[in-house]
C-alpha cells in the first residue's frame, strides 16, 4: 500500500538490489574524483535527510535542530579522535550515542509541546548549540575549530581517497536505510504514523505517545550523530559554522523536495539537491535562482515531494486551487 511504497522488502528486492549494485559500480564507471567527491557529500545528506524523516516525516514532529545533532556528532568524534586518540570504530558509535543523548534530553523537555512551539524550541536548541560550540573554547577551540582529525580507519585499514570514502559512506547509508526501513514497517513505525495523523486518537487507542515520540527523536538524532562522525573524519576539520540553522534548512529542503514520510523521498531529495547546484554551475550567479525555482515548482506542483506518497500532503488555500486534491491511492 501507498504508505509503505518503495520500502525495501521481499517483493521489490530486485529493484533495491539493482540500485545497490549500481551504487557499488559508481567508482568503477565514473572515474572522476570530482564526481566521487560530490557523491560522498550526497551520501552524508542521505543519512541526514533519512533520519530527519523519522521525526518530521513519519512521526509529524517538526524539528528544526537536525544540524545541531549533526554538529554534536562531528565534535564528539573530532574531540575523541584528536584528544584521546580514539579510532573511527569507536568515535562513530560514540558520536551517535552522544547525539542521541542530547536528542533524548531535548525530547524529554520539549515533547509536551507540539507544532509551532516544538519547532521554535528546536530552533532555539540549534542556536544554543552553535553559541556553545563557538564559545566553549576549552572544549571546542571555539572559532578556530578542530583541525587534524585523522582519516577514517577500520581494523587497520585506512580509508583514503575518494573511492575509499565513497564505499564507507555507502555502507553507512545502507545501515541507516536498513534501520529506517525496518522501523517504519514495524509496529513502532505504525505507531509513529498514527501519532502524526492524530495524536489524541493514538493515545486513546492505548499508544504510549510520549515514549514513542522520545524514541523517534532518539533514532533520528543517533543517525545525525553518525553522519557527523563521518563528516569529521572525512573533512579532517570541524568548525561551528558547518552546523548552523541554514544547514538544518538544507536537510529539511531535501526531505521536503524528496517527500516527507516517504522512504524514497530523502534519498532522492538529498541526491538531487547535491547534484543540482553542481550541474547548474555553468549558470554562475543564477545558480541560486534555479535552485529556488526548482523548490517552488516542486511545492506547487508536487507538494508530497518528487518521490512522495501521493495524497500525503493535503493542499490548502492557494495550493488547493492551483492543484485539485487527488483521490487517495490504495
Amino acid at each position: 500500500m501507498a504508505l509503505y511504497a518503495f520500502v525495501p522488502r521481499r517483493e521489490n528486492r530486485l529493484l533495491w538490489g539493482g540500485a545497490l549494485a549500481a551504487a557499488l559500480l559508481v567508482p568503477a564507471v565514473l572515474r572522476s574524483e570530482y564526481v566521487l567527491n560530490t557523491a560522498v557529500l550526497a551520501g552524508i545528506y542521505v543519512i541526514l535527510a533519512a533520519s530527519l524523516n523519522i521525526t518530521n516525516g513519519y512521526t509529524g514532529l517538526f524539528s528544526f535542530g537536525h544540524a545541531a545533532f549533526y554538529g554534536i556528532g562531528a565534535y564528539t568524534a573530532a574531540i575523541l579522535a584528536t584528544r584521546l586518540g580514539w579510532g573511527f570504530a569507536l568515535t562513530l558509535p560514540a558520536a551517535g550515542v552522544v547525539a542521541a543523548l542530547f536528542g533524548a534530553a531535548l525530547a524529554l523537555i520539549t515533547l509536551r509541546l507540539s507544532g509551532i512551539f516544538l519547532a521554535l524550541v528546536t530552533i532555539g536548541f540549534q542556536e544554543i548549540t552553535f553559541l556553545v560550540t563557538l564559545n566553549w573554547i576549552a572544549l571546542t577551540r571555539g572559532p578556530m575549530g578542530i583541525p587534524g582529525v585523522p582519516p577514517p580507519a577500520l581494523g587497520g585499514y585506512e580509508f583514503r581517497g575518494n573511492t575509499g570514502y565513497y564505499y564507507l559512506i555507502l555502507a553507512l547509508d545502507v545501515l541507516t536505510l536498513f534501520v529506517v526501513a525496518r522501523v517504519v514497517t514495524s509496529r513502532v513505525g505504525r505507531a509513529f504514523v498514527a501519532i502524526r495523523e492524530d495524536e489524541l486518537a493514538a493515545q486513546a487507542s492505548g499508544l504510549p505517545t510520549f515514549r514513542l515520540k522520545v524514541l523517534a527523536f532518539v533514532i533520528a538524532t543517533f543517525f545525525a550523530g553518525l553522519a557527523g562522525a563521518f563528516f569529521a573524519h572525512h573533512a579532517r576539520f570541524v568548525s561551528a559554522d558547518s552546523f548552523r540553522l541554514d544547514e538544518t534548512f538544507i536537510i529539511l529542503t531535501m526531505l521536503i523536495v524528496g517527500g516527507l514520510g516517504s522512504f524514497l523521498g530523502p534519498i532522492v531529495g538529498a541526491v538531487a539537491l547535491v547534484i543540482l547546484p553542481e550541474v547548474s554551475r555553468v549558470l554562475a550567479e543564477y545558480r541560486g535562482v534555479v535552485y529556488g525555482l526548482v523548490l517552488i515548482a516542486v511545492i506547487l506542483f508536487r507538494p508530497e515531494g518528487v518521490a512522495g506518497v501521493p495524497g500525503i500532503i493535503q493542499p490548502r488555500g492557494l495550493l488547493a486551487r492551483a492543484r485539485p486534491a487527488r483521490e487517495p491511492v490504495a
Binding site: V183, A191, D198, A201, Q203, S205, G206, I312
Partner: protein
Amino acid sequence: MSLLEVSGLSVTFGGLAALKNVSFSLEDREIVGLIGPNGAGKTTLFNCLSGFQAPDEGTMRFRGTVLERRSPDRIAALGLARTFQTSRIFRRMSVLDHVLIGLHRHQRAGFWAAVARPAWVAAEEAAARRRALELLALFEDRLLPRMDDFADSLSYANRRRLEIARALATGPTLLLLDEPTAGMNPHESAGIVRLIQAIRDLGVTVFLIEHDMKVMMNASDRIVVLDHGEKIAEGRPDEIRRDENVVAAYMGRRGARA
C-alpha cells in the same frame, strides 16, 4: 463491586460548571445510555473517564483502580476505550492499520526487535493481523473489503465504524461510544444497535451517548440523564420516557422551578 464507580464528579470551566457532583455506576455486560440536551456535559464526562480532562473533584474507580491523574494511554491499557464525537481517524493510514494500532498494546516488538526482526516478531505480527481481520469481520462487509484503503476514502458512516473497530481492538471491558450513529440513516443506525449488542455479548460493557432516541430506547438496559452538568434521572428506558424531570429538561419547564 461495580465495573465503574463514579462519585461526586465535578468539572468547572472558568466559572461554568460542566459537571456538578455526578455519581453513578456501571455493571458488567450492561448497555447504558447517556442522554441530555446539548451542553449537558456528556462529552465532558467521557473526557474525564478517558483521561483527557482532569476533574476538579470526585473519584472514578474502574475495576477498583483509580482513574484520576492517569494518562489516556494508561486508561486505555486498563481496558477502558472510547470513540470521539467528531470522527478522529488516521486519514492516511489503511483501515487494517487502524485496527493494528488498537492491537498495539497487545504486542511486544520494540525498536530492537523491529530492527533485528527475529521469528517471534513475524509470528506476533501475523497473529495481530488475523485478530484484526476477525474484528473487521464484526462489521459485515463494510470494512473488510476496504481494509487496504486509506481511511480518508471511507464514507462518513464507515469512518464511525472504523473508530469502533479501533477502540474494540484495544480489548476493552468498558467501551465509551460518543454518538456512534451521528450522520447515519435509520437502516445504518439499526445496524449499529445490533453491533452494540454483539459487542456486549463479547463481554464488554457499553456506555453510549446518543441523540437518536430510537437507538437509545432499543439498545440500552439503563439510561443516565444529564442536564446542565447534573444527573437528573437514571433508570430503565420506559421509566426515563415518563420521568417528569427528563421531559422538562428536553421540552422546557412549565411554570416556576420546583
